[in-house]
């Protein structure tokens, strides 16, 4: 079948330094992947098209790019799954949130810097075992779900926080941090969690689930970040806006069954965070004038008692 590709090109040695789109038409089969298509273009049509690719089996992580605007591996994306129904071409662009070097090749330097920043290696205790460390199989199977991350950068490409803030460690590095934090052999938890509690760490994730959606290996980076938040709070780091927010949220739910939107932001910012409090005042006044302010007296749900019981029962199991 005839397939149309619209590929973003960028030549760093050109004079205008502007990217543009180029259209290609190739003959492919039903079972072909996007990578098959790009390789065919490169080998038969236009040798100047540059991209990274290697294993063709979704394990080396080289060929993450945006396919119709969403990050994925070209090698495990079938053409028939991404051909737009309206007959328009398949759009191929380099991964996002990383500087483009040439065509579909991006500079991974920022990615690796963040990877390195979480000290991504096992930090066991002082006592070395005779043979292997003993570790429960269920923990290892759980960790295998994160270890299977191939560091392709798809999650980083589409992370909505990285789009507005370079300082965020990002989903890949945080998933990696989780992998060690959750390892029963690793004894550096206090130090790791304290670092992850800093700005740019676990609390900056906006829970948009983009990383979960685009990850080609089912690593679920965001879910790992949420588990890190839980660990951070359990370790006693409760003095961030995020931790206060989560704690206050849980407290309101526990006591009344639903949210108290008037008090929640106050408690999240921290009652002594004068600057943020002042920042809330205009919103408060504006809301008041618009008649949008939540009720001043937060009433309990009719079944608040039952809900509180559930809290107590489940929390006691933790």
């Amino acid at each position: 079948m005839e397939v149309n590709f619209k590929v973003q090109r960028f030549d760093p040695e050109s004079t205008d330094l502007v990217s543009h789109y180029q259209n290609y038409q190739v003959e492919m089969t039903e079972s072909s992947t996007v990578l098959d298509g790009l390789i065919k273009i490169r080998e038969e049509d236009d040798g100047t098209l540059s991209l990274r690719c290697s294993c063709r089996a979704a394990i080396c992580g080289s060929c993450a790019m945006r396919i119709n605007g969403e990050a994925g591996l070209a090698c495990n994306t079938k053409i028939v799954d991404v051909i737009p129904s309206d007959g328009s071409p398949i759009t191929i662009e380099p991964a996002g949130n990383l500087p483009v070097i040439k065509d579909l090749i991006v500079d991974f330097q920022p990615f690796w810097s963040k990877f390195k920043a979480v000290e991504p290696w096992l930090q066991p205790g002082e006592i070395e075992p005779e043979g292997e460390y003993l570790a429960p199989e269920e923990d290892m199977i759980h960790l295998a779900g994160v270890v299977s991350c191939i560091l392709c950068g798809a999650c980083v490409s589409d992370c909505t926080v990285l789009e507005v803030d370079d300082n965020f460690l990002g989903p890949a590095a945080l998933a990696k941090a989780y992998r060690f934090s959750r390892d029963p052999r690793d004894e550096s938890d206090n130090q790791r969690l304290a670092q992850l509690n800093q700005p740019g760490g676990v609390w900056d994730c906006t829970r948009c689930m983009k990383c979960v959606e685009v990850c080609p290996k089912g690593v679920d980076p965001m879910d790992r970040i949420m588990l890190l938040r839980e660990k951070v709070m359990d370790a006693g780091h409760n003095n961030t806006s995020g931790a206060r927010h989560a704690n206050a949220f849980a407290k309101f739910l526990k006591n009344s069954g639903w949210l108290d939107e008037l008090r929640l932001p106050v408690l999240s910012f921290g009652i002594f965070n004068i600057k943020a409090m002042i920042g809330l005042i205009p919103l408060g006044i504006r809301s008041q004038l618009a008649g949008k302010r939540p009720p001043i007296f937060h009433h309990k749900l009719s079944s608040a008692k039952e809900i509180k019981k559930i809290f107590e029962k489940v929390e006691s199991k933790k």
Binding site: E44, S50, I59, C60, N76, L122, E132, A135, I141, V147
Partner: protein, 557 residues
């Protein structure tokens, strides 16, 4: 010009393990790799790593014998002893560094069965053991602070007076060419799978190291021994791990018969790879195949077991063949997978050229002989990577850098300029495809005199065509077009070495099965075939196989 004590080419398991041990021994180490380390092809090893752990009642001698038998008695037994004796420590040290590994009920390392072995001694991380180990070694390299030239491409080895003193390499990102002096160079560039089409190997597996060493005067050994893996996916040729059969999968023909029962009554689906691939090919050739394939049936293992231990290959089969192995059998066929041959090296990775080492798939320490056992390749990379690193770090203490200057790069610069000035003529893609399909057809699971003669003719032809590849991209930045053209040159030389070696071996042994000479001939052929470069052609020589404790016997599974 840059100087290093030890320069390692390649950042897969062998390269990183060498770098780590050389760094620990105090040497100034740098790794140069044409892809980022975690993109290396060691990733693709799925099933596991073999080791006989004595505290589990296993014996390294049993592992050694299984390996020797698997090699069809072509493996050098002294080297195999080293590998198997050191296997346990190597696996434990990977675990201690952070590899997760699946466990048994006591929290100790768990094992699975693998082909050609009497014990379950394969340690594993689900079905992505290679990736898990590669990432752990990369983490350790980051921790140790070893310097990595990421995305640099080595163009040639610099040899002066028979000694290796460095390399010429190109920064892929900028096109800049640099001469690097090193007191020791360790080749760890992996295999040559792309010489064949199809192959389970990554696009980067272009035999660079073998060709670099060949051009520099080193010997290539056992090159005729090319492994066809029994379970590669229909269509794309993507690898499905032997772990599937290790965990209990069946192979079925079109008559729904577990055909391995008749060929290998004891080991069944877990006979050695050369045996299983031949049986599959026979079934297909005799009309009991299913559309050119046989069927790999895992349904009886159940969804939970498959998703815990074989999740990746389940996804691969779904992504690349639209088959959910939980519900239906997967069509598979033998596919080119591994080069048993490579740069001849000893148990410390030393090659015939002082200063040049080789470890991993690029090397032929002949621990695999005529056929490699599954899960012995990861072991090979780690044991001999480590040994090479340690030896090199010691050796460099007593040597000086050779007197080399930037002019050493001139030949490579000329070669690049000549490639860039080629007129529109041959295309990289077409020449590689012709070479790959030809090599597969003429040097497949079964071979004969006629097919091997055709292979030699083919090689001559593609070697010539490779010189006139048209390079459309003239830029300096990430000129992958130029890189492929240079790699094609490497590949055609590997193809030559394979074809030239194969036609020499007048018997059937391991992966080299001749329909016109179906029997093994221990009388005349318990020897390695070595090939060296001579001008634009080659020389052949022979070397006796080293036998320590295990005399060759008839091989049955």
């Amino acid at each position: 010009m840059i100087d290093h004590d030890v320069l390692i080419i390649g950042a897969g398991l062998a390269g990183l393990r060498a770098a780590l041990s050389a760094k620990e021994a105090g040497a100034d180490v740098a790794v140069v790799t044409k892809v980022h380390p975690v993109r290396s092809h060691s990733n693709a090893a799925q099933g596991g790593i073999n080791a006989a752990l004595t505290d589990r009642g296993d014996d390294w001698r049993d592992h050694a014998y299984d390996t020797i038998k698997g090699s069809d008695f072509l493996g050098d037994q002294d080297a195999i002893e080293v590998m198997c004796r050191e296997a346990g420590d190597e696996v434990i040290s990977m675990e201690n560094m952070g590899a997760i590994f699946n466990r048994d009920e006591n929290g100790k390392l768990g094992t699975r069965s693998f082909g050609g072995q009497r014990e379950a001694r394969t340690f594993f991380v689900a079905d992505f053991t290679g990736q898990a180990l590669l990432h752990v070694l990369y983490e350790q390299i980051v921790k140790a602070g070893a310097f990595v030239y990421e995305e640099w491409f080595v163009l040639s080895l610099i040899v002066r007076d028979g000694k290796c003193g460095g390399v010429v390499m190109m920064d892929i990102r900028t096109g800049k060419i640099e001469v690097v002096r090193a007191k020791a160079v360790i080749l760890a560039t992996g295999g040559l799978g792309r010489v064949f089409e199809p192959s389970t190997n990554a696009l980067i597996c272009t035999g660079d190291g073998m060709s670099l060493a060949y051009r520099a005067g080193a010997e290539l050994m056992d090159m005729e021994m090319v492994q066809y893996h029994p379970t590669t996916l229909k269509g794309s040729g993507v690898l499905l791990s032997e772990a599937a059969r290790g965990e209990g999968a069946y192979l079925l023909n079109s008559e729904n018969e577990r055909f391995m029962l008749k060929y290998a009554p004891e080991f069944k689906e877990l006979a050695s790879r050369d045996v299983v691939s031949r049986c599959e090919q026979t079934e297909i050739d005799e009309g009991r195949g299913v559309d050119g394939c046989v069927l790999l049936d895992l349904r009886h293992l159940g969804e939970k077991y498959i998703s815990e231990r074989l999740s990746q290959i389940r996804e691969l089969a779904m992504d690349f063949a639209n088959v959910d192995m939980v519900k239906e059998p997967v069509p598979v066929m033998p596919g080119m997978h591994y080069a048993m041959g490579g740069v001849k090296a000893d148990i410390d990775g030393k090659t015939a050229i002082p200063g040049l080492y080789a470890a991993g798939e690029v090397a032929c320490i002949s621990v695999h002989g005529g056929n490699r056992l599954g899960a012995n390749s990861l072991l090979d990379t780690l044991v001999f990577g480590r040994r090479s690193g340690i030896h090199a770090a010691e050796m460099i203490k007593s040597v000086q850098h050779l007197s080399i200057d930037d002019s050493a790069a001139q030949d490579d610069i000329d070669n690049i300029n000549s490639l860039l000035s080629n007129e529109k003529n041959e295309s990289f893609g077409q020449v590689r495809l012709d070479m790959g399909t030809g090599m597969k057809n003429h040097l497949g699971v079964y071979r004969d005199q006629n097919s091997m003669e055709k292979a030699l003719e083919l090689v001559k032809d593609v070697k010539e065509r490779a010189k006139s590849i048209y390079v459309a991209d003239k830029s300096k930045t990430f000129n992958t077009n130029l890189m492929f053209s240079i790699e094609l040159g490497f590949m055609t030389e590997c193809a030559e070495a394979i074809a030239a070696s194969a036609i020499q071996r007048k018997e059937s042994r391991g992966a080299h099965t001749r329909t016109d000479m179906p029997d093994r001939d221990d009388e005349n052929w318990l020897k390695h075939i070595l090939v060296t470069k001579k001008d634009d052609s080659h020389d052949i020589s022979f070397l006796d196989v080293i036998i320590t404790d295990w005399e060759p016997v008839i091989r049955q599974y």
